[in-house]
Symmetry: C2
Subunit: 362 residues, 2 copies
Amino acid sequence: METNHRYCVIMCGGVGSRFWPFSRTNMPKQFLDFFGTGRSLLQMTVNRVLPHIPHSHIILVTNDRYRDLIRTQLPEIPEENILFEPARRNTAPCVCWAAHHIYALDPDASIITLPSDHLILNEQEFLRVMSEGLRFVESHDALLTLGITPKSPETGYGYIQRGLPCADDPDVMKVKSFTEKPNLEMARLLLESGDFFWNSGIFIWTARSILKAFARYAPEISEIFEPGEKVYATPAENEFIDREFPNAPSISIDYAIMEKASNVYMIAVDLGWSDLGSWKALHEASPRNREGNVTQNCKLLAEDCHNSVFAVNGDKIIVASGLDNYIVAENDGALLIYPLEKEQEIRRVVNDVRTRFGEKYI
Amino acid sequence: METNHRYCVIMCGGVGSRFWPFSRTNMPKQFLDFFGTGRSLLQMTVNRVLPHIPHSHIILVTNDRYRDLIRTQLPEIPEENILFEPARRNTAPCVCWAAHHIYALDPDASIITLPSDHLILNEQEFLRVMSEGLRFVESHDALLTLGITPKSPETGYGYIQRGLPCADDPDVMKVKSFTEKPNLEMARLLLESGDFFWNSGIFIWTARSILKAFARYAPEISEIFEPGEKVYATPAENEFIDREFPNAPSISIDYAIMEKASNVYMIAVDLGWSDLGSWKALHEASPRNREGNVTQNCKLLAEDCHNSVFAVNGDKIIVASGLDNYIVAENDGALLIYPLEKEQEIRRVVNDVRTRFGEKYI
């Protein structure tokens, strides 16, 4: 098993406002110690792959504003492994640049690409499937994704429909279709069918296969990054990227490649996974007390409170009474007390805060 | 007018848990900038008397643990004017010691004794009544108190019943009786009668009159402080007090003297007064927005919130939704979200916090 050709790309440039004010522009979700374990989600993501992939083969793609945070949280990652995007362009340009960078280091490289801010409880199963997937793409021209066995009719996730299993590895199945986030009725049907899986955003391929797919399915992106072939993984890379990267369209890897390519495969897996994409997802993924309350980083004295999330930064206590289905989140001068059922309003609220009180609190 | 015989005693040793966590053991209510004006309640109390009484004639009685706070907040008060009680013994021993101390400085002194943590909006009226009261006690052996014209049937205040006006100053009336905090039905009757006034806890007398009253009505206190006659306002005072003060019974000036003495008088006055003794009293004494919300020291973005108090320390913002009749208070690592109607539970809650999480948060 040629493990020295294996790389991991972790996308950690995201800025989210869904967890405001627990997360902030200068401290987004992936850098937070979400579960009070002493490790951020990003650090947990790195640690998860380390048994099979060394620090020297882990590539981080991020934004320049998080340079110090990354150096502090991950001092073991070599400086040259951190790719700083000069502009925000969603995941497709990010994946394309990282693939070119790794291809320049090793044209026979295989890559697992990971979001930096998801939860995976079943780390042994993750490592097993990662190995199986890397083995598969190393011998097939395949774009592989992990499909999570769904537990409930979630409306917050995209779904992947499985097709026929491969002859030489029945764990790997052809992907028949991608489905956008469904409504509840549709989500129930998808769940019942047994053929649909949650789209994890975890991808496995070789550098060669994904670059071929970009050339074929997303030429408008490929044409931007191909002319840099001679500079990737050299001192001239940054100058090239700073000039050309902003010209790339802003588009996700799902739209640009996965929904178009004919060689897309999946492995169905039960990882104890959550994208932690909302307070509700966080509430469901977290240990709850008898009243259904979740605490993040705080001590709680609750009376007559149910199904609420209490998340603060630092060694604090909260005394609360009479809150049902609430979010209580506090960080660095901003406190949110908001019904969990209305969490889709939080983006608007954050904009209102920006308008009325300025960037300081965002 | 012999203003150089006039003194002010401010009692500022209190520790309250009713405003926890906005107030804390190491930062009780009187030291807080309650209204975001840049001045604490204690500083406001001192400033209120300054037009008529200079810093050199203002005596503070407090507890040793607040030494630094007082030096910081009131650097103009001479060090020798600050009396540190070696034990907590309610107001009667405090008043007796302060009277002896002032009598030693000036046997012809007249004194206004003030709580440090009340609100008085009508400062001109306060100064007028203070002058009138001091003038009255300077020519009568009288114990004078201010009775606040009641606005509503408050159950949180004690009441004073007025008797006949004095022949030579009809603003001053004999006090007929003191009434404990009444229930609502009784409070309505008291209000209707027109004869009852809120007990403000503001007292005016000469050092000579109050010491005479102690000798007559509270000999058990008088006997403790009289033997120190030679040491008050000398370097030997502290040693005497440290030894004898703790032997005094813990009793209020109302119980020890005012309810017993036959020479008690009142002036009825409308001061825009509140004892700020509860979150509800604070809510009523504070400017409210259209939805009835009060903010202390914070910026608020509220949706569908009514009749709530939001009090935090420092330059913070709160975003809240769906809170009716709530207290939201935060300070130094502790956050309280509690129904206003249940505020009498807060003392118990503070004890629970102490038991479960330690003194750090109290």
